[in-house]
Symmetry: C2
Amino acid sequence: MSRVYNFSAGPSMLPEEVLKQAQAEFLDYNGSGMSVCEMSHRSKVYTEINDEAEALLRELMGISDDYHVMFVQGGASTQFEAVPLNLLGKNNKADYCVTGNFANKASKEAQKYADVHIASSSKDANYTFIPKDINVREDAAYVHITNNNTIFGTEYHFVPDTKGVPLVSDMSSDILSRPVNVNDYSVIYAGAQKNIAPAGVTIVIAKKELVDNDNTLPYCPTMLKWSTQAKEHSLYNTPPCFSTYMAMLVFRHIKKLGGVEAMAKYNAEKAAILYDFLDSQDWYKAPVAKEDRSFMNVPFVSPSEELNAKFVKEAAANGLVTLKGHRLVGGMRASIYNAMPIEGVKKLVEFMKKFAAENK
Amino acid sequence: MSRVYNFSAGPSMLPEEVLKQAQAEFLDYNGSGMSVCEMSHRSKVYTEINDEAEALLRELMGISDDYHVMFVQGGASTQFEAVPLNLLGKNNKADYCVTGNFANKASKEAQKYADVHIASSSKDANYTFIPKDINVREDAAYVHITNNNTIFGTEYHFVPDTKGVPLVSDMSSDILSRPVNVNDYSVIYAGAQKNIAPAGVTIVIAKKELVDNDNTLPYCPTMLKWSTQAKEHSLYNTPPCFSTYMAMLVFRHIKKLGGVEAMAKYNAEKAAILYDFLDSQDWYKAPVAKEDRSFMNVPFVSPSEELNAKFVKEAAANGLVTLKGHRLVGGMRASIYNAMPIEGVKKLVEFMKKFAAENK
């Protein structure tokens, strides 16, 4: 077996140690005589997994009892709709900071239900920076941001001033990559498939006071209602058990490595290797404003379309795969989430140097 | 390792051969150097899985090109809402046949959006039979049935006469257990976790003319829109890749065994072993009307609550697990889906005989 360095924007690499454990117990979890894929979600053996996943996430992120933590289905795209459906029952004003493709999608979905106001946008600059000032309506029900913009490679390295309006953040692509102060947010949600687990489970962390006061719109589907999911501890219907189990294993792994502080240090080191190289030369270009660069997704381009295509192909032949950039940006994109080993980043930079030398 | 016979109503046993293959290639699928859990859903290696899963399901069920086939998230419970949201944009009348707990839930969810009429119900008899006649409004947008009632152990062994009104069927607990004529239905949906795959993927089979004519309600969430999912071949957003891959492996396995005809024969044989025994004695009671008995879920009771509890405990100690009945029925329930080996059913009947003899 020859494992590759997979720079996919998502789904993405998982820690090899976690994969090996899941493989070893795939037909018999913890002496139960069955796979996690086969067990009743009402069984003790599974509810222990569900409980441990929640407890570990609370511990890793420092989530207080003021928040519900839910493991749901449907991806962040479903939360694009759940957010307005759950929060706009009494006040239909929603403000959005549009810093990329998914931020834009989230704002578009909300327009079905809400009076949407764009509080900031970097669209005119093809989303190469994060606007520092936001124009919030003080009577808005919430302000929505996308914490890390996977396609464009930008990331909020600050918490925007919302003037007291509840802040909702899509952290799909940087959750658990570094410490955040959860109390700065009213709602955090994240698809699992970048830093946490196989696709299929989505995390929602929401202030109890917002959820329990039932601010839902009358036609909100029950399955999208946070109050339903919270009340039933994510077991209202059959949950995506295997993905939640894998999340639990990844949480244990992160804890063992030293928690989010250790991940932040490791991720900063990896990102620095790539950005320092990019800044040391001018053959490759990196489009993003320096202060807004993502630690998770690093887009860059070579001097031509042909060379970009050649780069992607030759890199793959060298075990560095899924480096093609998104069509909205072009060129290459290296996604270097928690589970990307530093060796992968070093190998990538070596390859970039060699490729540039050969094609100058 | 000692595998058990797991009679769980869902999630349920998977074929051991499939589990072993998934285990073997868990860190390196098909020479890709990565796990299916890690691969981009836009990669060739994954889109081939997605395509093969759809093609095999079409082949196994004989689904014509008149139907869309989708692999979505959220379980059947999400489809309880997706059905009215997708079908009631132009006519808000929906008829429901209430033959159990989930059938009832489906009708309740629809009341949020629809003028709901109960076309039949066996509620007064604690759902121990399937009403043969249904009282359909001829101008209803659709009639909804639950093909197999997991909790109560009843199953439609006929297609009800809907007088031309489109028929929608929740086949979560008997899909692929026997041949069905898909053309008798306008929509079929099913959570995967009983006969197909680990929880997390849901199958929707819907007539193209119903989907493409956009009958959706204006506030239908995009992620619940069948037209969106169909247009993007289930890749509108990141799908539950690992569950879909497991579904593909199970489809291959069923095909190898001889398709749904072979499964029907095998399942009839298994069910007969249990029902023949139940009918041969009167210590255990089986509550369901004979002609409506499910081939998938077999509820039965011993003479007392204490003995029921003792039965479940001693059966588990003998490697026959998750036999506790649902609280709405009490007693025991043996779920014997496709992947339950006939040896498991034989062992269960032997145990039932022994237990009765010891406790008479």
